[in-house]
């Protein structure tokens, strides 16, 4: 009886679960009885009454059905007042559907079930994105419900080529994952590869985004994000039309985009909402900030400890004056303050918002100023670490920001061991590592490392839209022309 659709077996299986409803419903006077199988709280009660109970009670044709087969056929042919009614004969599929919120009528003699999609669960309304807000542009962001998120994407790409494949992962959680791509543009090999990876995920529970991410990234040791996430449906649609692939995971209020390259992580929706010169300036500032946050603390350590001749005379003198009476070496000062900065950030995240703000003021201003006044740290180091810290938060992608913050420590350590030689060694290692990353057949540093220059038009500088004629070649497999030249008669 196991692994076949049978109400008695299912009832026994869930006998200790109070939220599972399994009860017989008499369909008609011809001794046809089905068993209702659903999860209380996940089913829309009103829809259930309308689609299931009302049809059973008042449908005269159903009253005349003599066999279970006849009843099932009638329900599937329009007897059920629900457009999303299907017949299920696979026991596992039935369990998955019901446990995800559908309602089923089990016909024991036929060993089949008619499944009604009557899901309803409490969800957030669509709100403004918290991380990627823009002045000009859409204010919609993804929520935790997969179907809602796919609908947001579909609304922006009304193409017949938009494919939303349903997959799932997690032996226990059976989390729904939608693989979204444009079949006429996306690279079929990449789609197949991602599909097979998702199918191969063999874990109990997809409880956090990291569980999915770690399976999807190709170089798991790298701290640089190789998968982009976004809260914005418009950003997903733009990347889909470039040939990339999106993954919508039920329960996660953002969407993953693959393959991902470093320049993508430096782009912000604001770049496209503004004039191209303004957008380019913002990007240049972001790249400068990345360099500052990575190398400024290390540069300070190297310049004040090893190669002080690198500093201009006046800067050397003022830095020297600021360091007088401070008992610690530059390396200890910088690394200590960097660690304190991270502690402050971490504490700010964990505490309630009101307390967090007060603690930031206390930690940042009061303790900082007192430490300078007590000659524990020099004012120059406070400026350096604060500038590096703030620059780190300019990154549009928080995963990238975290990666860079960690790399900053490595650079500072290398500089404290060997000055500018250490810094140079760190830079070489960093560039080598970034260039060695491969992401579903595309270089992570693409298009900086590409032979062709066409994709460079949307990297450090954001060219006017009319120049975005072609899609990234290594991302889009089949269809490389993105738009016309924009020179039509006006």
């Amino acid at each position: 009886m196991e692994n076949t659709i049978n109400s008695a077996w299912i009832k026994k299986l869930f006998e200790k679960s109070s939220d599972i409803t399994i009860r017989p419903i008499k369909i008609n006077q011809n001794n046809i009885t089905a068993h209702l199988f659903c999860v209380d709280g996940l089913v829309n009660q009103e829809l259930f009454d309308e689609a299931v109970l009302k049809s059973i009670k008042f449908d005269s044709y159903l009253a005349d059905c003599r066999t279970e087969r006849e009843t099932i056929d009638y329900l599937l042919e329009g007897g059920a007042y629900d457009a999303f009614t299907t017949e299920v004969s696979d026991y596992q599929k039935l369990l998955k559907n019901v446990l995800s919120g559908m309602a089923a009528l089990i016909f024991d003699a036929e060993k089949k079930a008619v499944v009604y999609d009557l899901r309803k669960f409490e969800k957030r309304s669509i709100q403004e994105p918290t991380e990627e807000n823009v002045m000009k542009g859409s204010k919609e962001s993804f929520i935790e419900v997969l179907r809602m998120n796919t609908a947001l994407i579909r609304r922006r790409l009304r193409s017949e080529y938009l494919v939303i494949e349903q997959l799932y992962a997690g032996r226990l959680s059976k989390t729904d994952i939608a693989l979204v791509y444009l079949s006429n543009i996306a690279n079929a090999n990449t789609v197949n590869k991602i599909r097979s990876i998702i199918k191969s995920i063999d874990i109990d529970n997809v409880s956090t985004p990291a569980f999915i991410e770690e399976y999807l990234v190709e170089n798991k040791l790298s701290i640089f994000p190789q998968i982009m996430y976004t809260q914005r449906p418009d950003r997903v649609s733009a990347n889909l039309s470039d040939g990339r692939i999106a993954l919508v995971v039920d329960g996660i209020p953002f969407v993953y985009i693959l393959p991902c390259q470093l320049p993508m992580l430096m782009q912000s929706p604001d770049d496209y909402a503004n004039h191209f010169l303004v957008g380019s300036s913002l990007r240049v500032i972001r790249y400068i900030s990345m360099i500052l946050t990575l190398f400024l603390p290390a540069f300070y350590i190297a310049a004040t400890t090893y190669q002080n001749q690198m500093l201009p005379v006046q800067l050397a003198l003022s830095t020297q004056a600021a360091k007088q009476n401070v008992p610690f070496s530059s390396a200890v000062e910088v690394l200590g303050l960097l660690i304190s900065f991270e502690i402050l950030i971490e504490a700010g995240l964990r505490l309630p918002q009101a307390v967090g703000t007060a603690m930031s003021i206390l930690g940042g201003l009061v303790v900082g100023q007192s430490a300078v006044a007590a000659n524990l740290i020099s004012p120059a180091v406070v400026v350096i670490v604060a500038l590096a810290g703030i620059s780190g938060f300019i990154m549009p992608n928080q995963d990238l920001s975290s990666g860079i913050r960690l790399t900053r420590f490595v650079m500072a350590l290398l500089a404290s061991f060997a000055g500018f030689f250490g810094l140079a060694a760190g830079l070489i290692l960093l560039v080598t590592h970034l260039c060695s990353l491969d992401n579903y057949g595309t270089a992570y540093m693409s298009p900086f490392v590409d032979v062709e220059e066409r994709n460079i038009k949307d990297t450090v500088f954001r060219f006017p839209v009319k120049y975005f004629i072609k899609r990234p070649e290594d991302v889009a497999g089949q269809n490389s022309i993105k738009q016309g030249t924009g020179r039509a008669d006006r």
Binding site: Q320, F417, G419
Partner: protein
């Protein structure tokens, strides 16, 4: 692969640690950064005078302007004197941030190559630091006098550098330039000299070297003539007797050198524009005739300055315009024949001066008083 990766990381770590042991690790506040160094020669000994700022501490409000300390070292050679200077100081002494080297008159007369040799071999020295000669006095006296008058020496020297930038388009008295010039035995080495004024240091003109020893000082006009011929003059005031003052705003010069039958001919062409700066006359300078007169007068003024430079070269036989270098490069074959007599040929060089000018952007306010 993993083992290899870990081994590579360990190797990197070890090499970095090894580097840090061999890289003269020193905190910035443990170093006395010399920002001016005087080099003198007296009583058969070289004397180095180092000026460095005494720290302001973490609270600059206590001593907002900072102050300067002086330290001296003596030795038979400049390097020995530098070692003496290091020994006398409590902290490590560094010339990595030294922006100015002042060479006393006696040390310059003794030979500039001795003064600068130890600097050229120091890997930390700033090659763009400026070198000046202190006219008539030792550098240490120059520094001590300046400090007695309550001056911040390095600020005054920064002001001198600014003035130089205003006068010329290229500063040639950097350490790297002078070291290069010293390598060429044909170059007429010229280094600006400083004079002490009551409240500040002033740029005099060029100190002329015979070989590598100080020989003479040029006045401001002769030095300006050299700058014009070298095409590095940015601006220069012209005071005409008619009560009109102008300033050179755009100047181009080119030198054409020819060697014919053992005689060197040099054509110097100078084209410049000037702007009227002051009109203290009732004459109407709007008139074409008057403009032509002013142009003639300013041409003659500049020509006089050029003549001073040229005449000095002819009178003293010192090739301050580096004509020899041009001849050597242009007439390589003939040069081998005249190389040894070049010093005797310098007074016989025939110069022709051609000055053309235009008064531009003038008369905006007219000359009505």
């Amino acid at each position: 692969m993993k083992r290899l990766f870990i081994a590579a990381l360990c190797l990197l770590q070890l090499s970095l640690c090894a580097c840090s042991n061999d890289m003269n690790r020193r905190e910035l506040d443990e170093i006395n950064l010399i920002h001016i160094m005087g080099i003198d020669y007296s009583d058969g000994m070289y004397v180095l005078t180092a000026v460095f700022s005494s720290g302001q501490g973490a609270d600059p409000e206590k001593n907002p302007s900072g102050s300067e300390d002086v330290s001296e070292g003596k030795g038979a050679t400049p390097f020995e004197a530098f070692q003496d200077l290091k020994l006398k100081n409590k902290k490590t002494v560094s010339i990595a941030n030294t922006g100015y080297f002042l060479i006393g008159e006696t040390a310059a007369a003794e030979g500039i190559e001795t003064c600068l040799d130890f600097l050229s071999r120091d890997e930390t020295v700033k090659m763009e630091s400026l070198i000046f000669i202190t006219q008539g006095v030792n550098a240490s006296y120059f520094i001590s006098e300046g400090m007695k008058n309550g001056k911040m020496i390095h600020e005054d020297l920064e002001a001198v550098e600014q003035k130089l930038h205003e006068l010329v388009t290229r500063i040639d008295n950097t350490l790297v330039n002078i070291l290069n010039e010293m390598e060429d035995d044909l170059s007429g080495l010229l280094i600006p000299y400083l004079k002490t004024g009551e409240d500040s240091f002033n740029i005099g003109g060029y100190a002329v070297f015979d070989g590598l020893s100080l020989a003479d000082y040029l006045d401001i006009d002769t030095s300006a003539g050299i700058n014009i011929i070298k095409n590095i003059m940015r601006t220069y005031p012209i005071y005409l007797k008619k009560g009109v003052s102008l300033s050179v705003s755009s100047l181009k010069s080119r030198m054409k050198t020819e060697l014919e039958e053992g005689l060197v001919w040099v054509d110097i062409h100078v084209d410049f524009e000037s702007m009227v700066r002051e009109v203290n006359t009732d004459e109407d300078i709007f008139r074409v005739e008057e403009q032509n007169t002013l142009t003639r007068l300013q041409n003659a003024y500049i020509e006089d300055i050029l003549k001073k430079a040229v005449d000095y070269s002819k009178d003293t036989g010192r090739d301050i315009l580096n004509i020899g270098r041009i001849i050597r490069n242009r007439y390589a074959k003939e040069w081998s024949g005249i190389r040894d007599e070049w010093k005797d040929m310098v007074p016989d060089i025939q110069y022709e001066l051609h000055v053309r000018s235009r008064i531009a952007k003038s008369f905006i306010l007219g000359n009505r008083r």
